[in-house]
């Protein structure tokens, strides 16, 4: 008798993020959200959950600097039931957990997928990184696409400065556009600089002050999900 884990678990331990599992079923799309501290990653995750939770089966993995802060924010805001939110410890190095050593995040994602496998398998897992700097990006072994969230209050020169998040993310979100006049940020300049850095890669400007604020980002996620489902 073993009291720690009386339940059987199907075999897993895939080490890649192959879209189709050994049994032929399709795993959930995994989207990472990164960006500097305070740019609004958690608020964006919360808004995305509210916008998409009625259409899709969702779950979130948080990677806060401190283990449970972001997870608890999401719980307080009641954007998802607690069993759809998991928190990963990062040992004070949030970028390590999403880029250099993704094993704990993969475990968390797979645990969530496993939990919902029978009743309403997950369509989408959002992996939120802990607030870091402009160099933090997700490993392609962990996520299928990544969103980088910056905000106008952090300075309108951030797109010009570039860095891996700004230049290579699949979607750049410029958050808190409602604050632009107050902090003297030039949105046109940010858009121009972003285009210069990112070429054809999309940029979304958003303010979460209004309920519809997340619509452009939610729309982008819907397109991604449609593509994912069609491909697999």
């Amino acid at each position: 008798m073993h009291l720690d884990h009386p339940d059987g678990y199907p075999q897993r331990h895939t080490h890649s993020a192959a879209p189709v599992r050994a049994d032929g079923s399709r795993r959930a799309l995994r989207i990472g959200l990164g960006g500097p501290v305070g740019s609004g990653k958690t608020a964006t995750v919360a808004a995305l959950c509210r916008a998409l939770r009625d259409e899709f089966s969702l779950a979130v993995v948080t990677n806060d600097i401190y283990t449970r802060e972001d997870a608890e924010f999401l719980l307080r805001e009641a954007v998802l039931p607690p069993e759809r939110i998991a928190a990963v410890e990062t040992g004070a190095c949030p970028h390590t957990a999403i880029r250099d050593d993704i094993s704990a995040n993969l475990e968390a994602v797979e645990d969530l997928e496993e939990a919902f496998r029978v009743h309403g398998p997950l369509d989408l897992v959002l992996v939120e990184s802990g607030g870091d700097n402009l160099t933090a990006t997700f490993s392609r072994g962990l996520v299928d696409a990544q969103i980088f969230v910056i905000d106008v209050a952090g300075g309108d020169d951030i797109p010009r400065k570039g860095g891996p998040g700004v230049t290579t993310s699949d979607l750049l979100v410029v958050n808190k556009t409602d604050l632009a006049p107050h902090v003297g940020s030039d949105l046109d300049r940010m858009a121009r600089d972003a285009r210069e850095q990112r070429g054809e890669l999309p940029v979304a400007f958003q303010s979460l002050r209004s309920a519809q604020g997340v619509a452009p980002v939610a729309g982008w996620v819907r397109d991604r999900l449609a593509g994912w489902t069609a491909r697999a």
Binding site: M1, H2, L3, D4
Partner: protein
Amino acid sequence: MTAGASGVRAHARITAAADGRGGTALPELAGSGPLALRRTGCDGPEAHVTLVGAMSAPLGGDRLALTADLGPGAALRLTSAAATLALPGRCGTAARYDVRLTLADGAALRWLPEPLVSVRGSELAVSTRAELAASARLLLREELVLGRAGEASGLLGSRLTVVREGRPLLDQEVCFGPGAPAGWDGPAGLAGHRAVGQLLVVDPAFAQRPPAARELGEHVVAAPLAGPALLVTAVAPDALRLRALLDEAAGHYAWSAACGTT
């Protein structure tokens, strides 16, 4: 018992068996040398035996052994009359104290000795091995005290092995005092505490109602093992406070004789 230049050899034996009338008989109760055994009464199904220190022991070089064998349905409470003092011997070699407990199905043993005090200059290795059948119950307390009050300690090692249905349930070894592996008194070891103790409760009923891991005090944790058992681990500044912590834990988790049999 034999005594030679290298120390005392002594082996005390207890055999307990259900007497068929709801009590427990003791077909064998054989003290030896410093390990004298007294039947001190009974409480319902449970026989009481007290280990009486007939002479100062263990000294360096001594090899002491205590064996308790409980047949099916037997219930025994085994205590000691006083603390055991590990003392330095003339020959400067280590003493050994081996306790062997065997519990058949339905047997229940409460092994609640007084503390083991390691006196400066002594060297003692204790080994306790319990083998339990599936429905046996065991309550075991171990208290290790490093030095008499205000004195330095000797070298004290203790290994506790519990095997249930042939599978290891608990295997733990500690070693403290001068000559122990480095770091024993450091931030991962005792960090200046001088008393360390454990209370082990093995009870098949835990399989249905597993106890939760719990902090019972600043340095006391009750932890469910991977099988139907719970281990309370405590460190304390001294023996008195350690006993208070373990008594409180026993109040939460241990059974008493009145509800002893099934």
